[in-house]
Each structure stands twice: as C-alpha cells, then as structure tokens.
C-alpha cells in the first residue's frame, strides 16, 4: 500500500493520475465507507419518496439530488416549496445550511486538484461524509483515496436511492393523500434526525433553543419560510461559547502542529 521510498511530493504527483487513488483504499476504509453510503442511499430513498408524495413532479427530487447533492438542503427546499414558501426563500434557506461547505472545503483543500474539470468534479463531491472520512487522515495519498471513494460512492448511491424513492413515491404512495400517511411529519422528523447529532455542547443546545424560539416568534410577522432563516439570530447566544471553543481549538491545533513537526524531524 505505502511504498517506503515514496516521498510526499512524489505521492502528490502520482495522485493526480487517474486511477491511482484506489491503490490506497484499504479494507477497513472500504467497509466503513460502504456502510455510510448505504445509509445515504436510504436517506436518498426517503427523500425521493417523500418529495414526490408531497406533490413535486417525479423528476424534481431526482434532479435536485444530482445538481445539489446536499441532503439537508434538499429536504428543506422541498419541504418549504411544497408548503407554499416562495422558492427563492426556500433556496436561500438551503444555501444557509450549505454554508458549512466552506470550512469543510478548506479542511480538505489538499485533495482537490488545482485546476481542470477534475477540480470541479471534486468540489461537487464535497459532502459531510467525504470530508469526515478525509479530515482525520494524514497521509496525502490516503486522504485523496478516502475523499474520492466516499464522494463517488455516495454520489452514485444517493442518486440511485432518490430515483428509486421518487418512483416508489409516484406509484405506491401517490394513490393516497399525503396527510393520511402522515408524510407531513416526515420532513420535520428528518430535520430533527439531522439536528440532534450536531448538539454536542451546551453552546450547541443553547443555540438550537434560541433559534427555535426566534423562529416561532417570527412566524406571525414574517412570510412563510423566513422564520427559519431568522433563526440564525440564535447563533448570537452562542457567541461567547463559539469564541471559547475557537480558543480551545487553537490550542489543540498548536499541539497537533507541534506533534507533527516533532514527528517529521
């Protein structure tokens, strides 16, 4: 897998040749990635089914999955639009959720080719999942392998799931009123399933609570869809917490850098 004589610089250049990243895929990584991407397929399936059952044309969830390829924002866009929110507002809400792509992209910038169409493909394959498998790794070749493997596999399975789900939603579920099936509860349930794992610290929980309060308070005054956007104000309650966490992160970062420097010498 790793040749003893290979330097980082050489690995860098080799990595840009097609196919070579796969040499660095090990068994355990493959198993973990497969598990996560299979879970992604299930989420994609529910997305396609719920979207079509809520009244979008069949191709909408399929197209969204291909061109947006970011689960939470797709769910939010469809939920808001089918609920009667102005599509542009729904899109902006999704964009706010996808703002996290920027720090994720900064974290995995080294695996994104410098130029050409492969840079564009790599950018599109950036997701929570591909970043999560890439970030903890140090070796450049391993990082590249983890990123491309997760990105490509998730893209294929996510879209396959959405397509199958949309067809199911259009045939099996279409005969019944979505309200009778309780499908209107599916959207908030999905968002909750995405939210809860992100509530790790007291600051997170305070931010979530403040966001919820602001959103509810805004319902009578703002047009549909905007209350949830107003919830960004909830982040203000966490300002002290965030900066404290930032300080803690910086310390950890310095430790890691020191350790890396020590290891390299």
């Amino acid at each position: 897998m790793r040749s003893p004589y290979r330097t980082d610089g050489l690995a860098d250049r080799i990595g840009h040749r097609i196919g070579s990243p796969w040499q660095d895929v090990d068994r355990r990584l493959l198993r973990d990635v497969l598990l996560v991407c299979a879970a992604g397929a299930v989420v994609g399936l529910s997305f396609g089914a719920v979207a079509v059952a809520s009244g979008t044309p069949l191709w909408v969830p399929v197209l969204l999955s291909v061109v947006v390829f970011a689960g939470a924002s797709q769910f939010v866009f469809v939920a808001l639009v089918t609920g009667g929110t102005a599509p542009l507002v729904a899109a902006m809400t999704g964009v706010v959720l996808n703002a996290r792509m920027v720090p994720l992209g900064m974290g995995v910038a080294d695996v994104v080719p410098r130029s050409g169409w492969r840079r564009l493909v790599a950018a599109h394959l950036l997701t929570d999942e591909s970043a999560a498998f890439t970030l903890p790794r140090r070796d450049p070749a391993e990082r590249r392998a983890a990123f491309w493997l997760t990105g490509v596999l998730l893209f294929v399975l996510w879209n396959a799931g959405a397509l199958v789900g949309a067809v199911l939603g259009g045939t099996v579920l279409a005969a019944v009123d979505p309200g009778t099936l309780g499908l209107d509860a599916a959207f908030p349930a999905v968002l909750l399933a995405l939210l809860v794992p992100a509530l790790r610290t007291a600051t997170d929980r305070r931010t979530a609570l403040a966001g919820a309060v602001v959103a509810v308070a805004a319902v009578p005054v703002l047009p549909a869809g905007l209350p949830a956007v107003a919830a960004v104000l909830g982040v203000l309650t966490g300002v002290r917490g965030w900066s404290r966490r930032r300080a803690a992160d910086t310390e950890v970062e310095t430790d890691v850098e020191a350790e890396t420097a020590g290891g390299a010498s």
């Binding site: 879970a39 719920v50 009244g55 197209l63 969204l64 061109v67 947006v68 970011a70 939470a72 924002s73 542009l88 899109a91 964009v95 706010v96 996808n98 703002a99 792509m101 920027v102 720090p103 994720l104 992209g105 900064m106 974290g107 995995v108 910038a109 080294d110 840079r119 950018a123 599109h124 099936l181 309780g182 499908l183 209107d184 509860a185 599916a186 959207f187 908030p188 349930a189 999905v190 968002l191 909750l192 399933a193 939210l195 809860v196 992100a198 509530l199 600051t203 931010t207 979530a208 403040a210 966001g211 919820a212 959103a215 509810v216 949830a228 919830a231 960004v232 909830g234 982040v235 965030w242």
Partner: protein, 110 residues
C-alpha cells in the same frame, strides 16, 4: 403542485450557490490557509446550521404558514425525537413519525 418558472429559479439558485460554496473552501485555503482557520469558521457555521435546523424543526412541526397544524404532526415529531435520542436508525425514525401522525389522524385528531 405545478412546477413554475419561480420553482426553476429557486432550484437553480440552490444548485449554483451550493456549488459555489463548495469551490470557495479550496479557493480560500489556497489564499489564507486551511487548518486552524477552517476550524474556527467551522465552529461558527456549524452554529448557524444548528440554529436554522432548530428553527425549521419547530416551524415545520407546528405551523402551516401562520396557522397551527393541530396535534397529529407535532406528536409524530415528538416520537421521532424520542427515537433519535435513543439512536434509532434513520428509516425507523422517519417511518415512526409518519405512522404516528397517520395513526393519530385515523383516531380522529387532526
């Protein structure tokens, strides 16, 4: 629903803006460096996502536009919340939420 021009525009804006955000990270990293900066930006934007998701969960659970939705949907979401807390699989959470809401409606509560 009918998929009109404004829906197309919304879809295009979401897709293009998301792609731009994906390109922005590597572009910024090349200019101001990744690492520590990425982590501090990450903390703030993660907070942003948490706030918006929480706002969406409550508004989507309780309201249709400005009107309260009744009991069935919130009860479904509460069941989902309990299952998420117990770390149930995603599909179980979604199906249980829909089933609860459907059942409550079947019992006559809207």
């Amino acid at each position: 629903m009918t998929w009109g021009v404004e829906h197309w525009v919304g879809l295009a804006v979401l897709a293009v803006a998301t792609f731009a955000l994906r390109l922005l990270g590597p572009w910024l990293a090349a200019r101001i460096g990744g690492g520590a900066r990425a982590e501090s930006t990450d903390a703030l934007l993660a907070g942003l996502a948490v706030a918006v998701l929480a706002g969406l969960v409550v508004t989507q659970s309780l309201f249709d536009g400005r009107d309260l939705v009744g009991w069935a949907r919130p009860l479904g979401v509460v069941v989902a919340g309990l299952l998420v807390w117990r770390k149930a699989p995603f599909l179980v959470v979604v199906l249980a939420a829909a089933a609860t809401t459907a059942l409550v409606r079947l019992l006559g509560l809207s």
